[in-house]
Symmetry: C2
Subunit: 481 residues, 2 copies
């Protein structure tokens, strides 16, 4: 009997009908049983007469299943496997934790530190493997990535695989998926899983010259069911309905609501779900949205509105796009590394998480933000340092605090832990007035990556010297006796 | 007969009654005549039986006057003087020019580059003379300064002079001005005039431990009439009703309206008038306001709202306070020199003018922003460089343009002159699509203070390389043939 670890991927394949159009004509799934629980899991046609079904068991013990299908060959076939406790690096899928935060299913905090390589899986194996090699040594634990290829500045190349077969006349056959496309794509999702990186899969996006942004509703919906059937058993998957949903003029808000519900209904593992904006937010208060995936408009350097969203949505806030470190002409793609790092820290102080990207001009148009490759900038090293501080925050997650110091905002746990950040400001001193107790203050240079501990205070009222430089933070922790 | 240059200061003194309270009991003024024009000018009591009257003639030729007074000694006394063309450095008072801009009365453009030393005239001669020496070598052509002394952090010292006499019980005699106070103050205004610096006189402010912020309406109004009578003939005077008017809780909006009208009615020379905010703007659309004097709230780094104010007020916009270069704990007083300079450039690109200040911690609490002294920072040198670029802009003034480049805003004259600024962004290139013509582009490093001309373009469509550094500007001028 198969042995699968908890949150591992159980998969089986069956031979079935090849005639007609199996993508459309054959229904296929299985009902999984664990003690009193029953879970219906959709399978999918993988071409060449092969039908597959994947499932991520979420509890150790003996599981059974029974297939169902419109094809008698595939119907009513029983099976079972044993689910065992997970290996050391497997903490399960990421879930919402403590309202504004995230944790793996086993309770381990997940401190989101994202990056974006929109179409890295469409660049051919050499570059894709270089991207994976880069990620191995980078701080990022989430990758934002599109399913469909991208048409845009710096993105003139054709992808190696297309998601649909072609008709004889050269048009897409939107009734037939190309299994090779999805096999390749899911291998890349698995590659990220092996690196401990969450894959935030962008299901639609507007930057398109092939017609994938303007398919009709029937094709959209079938595509969603297909990709969810193929990928929902990978524990590192997140679903992002779109990159810049409000730029996809062919779709209405009702379409987006429907997409969310299709994903929600077809994903047995209930991965995280959101959608990313250009200028207009989708209503993140809708019940099927698990967290807010936000692009901050490039012109604004002020991240304090995060505090309002925090209260408004009562869900994790991820600033997935806040401009990219780089030097392309476009305003959204030429902030300094200092500013990229500042936006991570500011997001944290306001109770949110952030996302990185790089857009340096490159002779072959290999920009990290879209194609991956190697990192050219100076922010990722500082983001790794930031990540270390983040991972040392209290496990319940940092909440933005109402009171600050000298008009600078804080995050923390009142009376216990405070993280403050001065950004472009360069105070030479700060005066604290905290609840009674002794406190240990550390002065953190977020750019030069140093942590300088100061002698513990006598009381909650104390003053510290600061080095009159920008990009400094302070960490204040109560001394426990 | 006296000879006074145009926009110079004509003054005469008369001996009059000393008994009772001349400040209250004696009305005194003169009607000036130039050809068909008649102008009533208030005089003032200067103590010790001396009554003075000052007047700034605005046109060359022969002027006559006749005094009027409730005291017979001072009444119906004739006089005359000849007004001659001004000397080379005398361009007259600053006026609104071309709706959003400023010019001296002789038409010379006035490119406002301000600084703030709120109470520099209350620091004793040694420090005050050092301030003047500093200003001699600094780029600033406007000083924001309070009439009354200041009580605030870093401002614990008592002033040398007080504006009122004291009663025997030690309370202020709000019915008797202290002429020595005003004599000293107006000497400092004259000192600024000698340096070519406009004196933006702040008539009220909230930072007070003496009671000057909470005088009753009768005293307020008498004080306004008195200071206007004393100072309106200095051509470098501007009137600012308040610093942070909305923090002066003892006064209503109707009080401020009345203050404006008193100044307007009593100033024969109609100097510029505005009022400065903390969080809430006074309605700059009111007809007695000549320009908007704005504090940008410290937390915001985004200066684009200037463009809205530009359209809303149709008056010059001066960002008189946009935080200060320094390292004090307070958020408004610890921006980097880079950020201070950035705010000047951003203001310009959006069609406004800006103001500087410095707040570096000092062992004797001598912070430029309040007391003057010497400059410790790095922004003023770059502001001098900025001033050079500003003075080379078209004389009609830079208007913000609706279209930009790569989402960066421009100011200029369409088809003729464009000034663009990239701020913290670091593009490696920019692509231009201007009206047909040949253009000369210069790449300006606003921090390192270099100007690099590029070869002229062939057409309006061209691309330029940029150095992938922050704080760069570009100046694009049509090549005239």
């Amino acid at each position: 009997m198969a042995v699968i670890e908890q949150w591992g991927l159980f998969e089986f394949a069956l031979e079935g009908p090849q005639d007609g159009n199996p993508f459309i004509e054959v229904a296929f799934g299985a009902r999984f049983r664990f003690q009193h629980r029953e879970i219906d899991v959709p399978g999918f046609y993988d071409g060449a007469g092969i039908y597959r079904l994947r499932f991520m068991p979420d509890v150790p013990g003996d599981w059974e299943y029974l297939t169902y299908s419109s094809a008698s060959q595939l119907d009513n076939l029983p099976g079972k496997f044993t689910c065992v406790t997970p290996s050391a690096d497997n903490h399960g899928p990421v879930r919402v934790h403590n309202m504004h935060h995230l944790a793996y299913a086993d309770g381990t905090p997940y401190w989101q530190v994202g990056t974006t390589c929109y179409v890295w899986t469409h660049q051919g194996d050499a570059l894709e493997e270089q991207t994976l090699e880069t990620l191995k040594n980078a701080p990022f634990n989430k990758m934002r990535m599109c399913v469909f290829p991208k048409h845009y500045t710096f993105n003139a190349n054709e992808p190696e695989y297309y998601p649909f077969e072609k008709l004889e006349n050269g048009a897409w056959d939107f009734e037939r998926f190309n299994p090779a496309f999805f096999q390749h794509f899911e291998q890349r999702v698995a590659d990220l899983l092996a690196l401990g990186i969450e894959a935030d899969l962008i299901l639609f996006h507007p930057y398109d010259r092939w017609g994938f942004a303007t398919m009709d509703a029937e094709v959209d919906d079938r595509y969603l069911r297909y990709i969810v059937a193929r990928l929902a058993a990978y524990r590192n998957v997140w679903w992002s309905m779109a990159n810049e949903w409000d730029l996809m003029k062919a779709k209405s808000e009702a379409d987006w609501d429907r997409f969310f519900r299709i994903v929600q209904e077809n994903d047995p593992s209930q991965h995280l779900r959101s959608v990313h904006n250009w200028r207009t937010f989708y209503d993140y208060n809708k019940p099927w949205v698990t967290h807010a995936s936000i692009q901050i408009v490039g012109v604004s350097m002020n991240l304090e509105p995060i505090r309002d969203w925090h209260k408004q949505y009562k869900k994790p806030i991820i600033i997935d796009e806040c401009c990219y470190e780089g030097n392309i002409p476009d305003r959204w793609g030429n902030i300094t590394p200092q500013e990229m790092v500042r936006r991570f820290w500011e997001s944290t102080i306001h109770g949110a998480y952030a996302g990185h990207g790089e857009t340096y001009l490159h002779p072959q148009d290999i920009l990290w933000w879209s194609k991956g490759g190697v990192l050219h900038g100076q922010s990722s090293e500082r983001i790794a340092f930031y990540q270390r501080i983040l991972e040392e925050t209290p496990p319940q997650g940092l909440e933005p605090l109402e009171t600050g110091i000298h008009s600078f905002k804080w995050a923390g746990v009142p009376g216990q832990y405070y993280l403050g950040y001065f950004g472009i400001h360069q105070p030479g001193a700060a005066i604290f007035n905290l609840p009674d107790g002794q406190y240990q203050t550390e002065v953190i240079d977020t750019w030069d990556m140093t942590i300088t501990p100061l002698p513990p205070s006598e009381t909650g009222k104390f003053q510290v010297e600061l080095p009159s430089k920008p990009y400094m933070a302070v960490r204040v922790r109560r001394v426990t006796t």
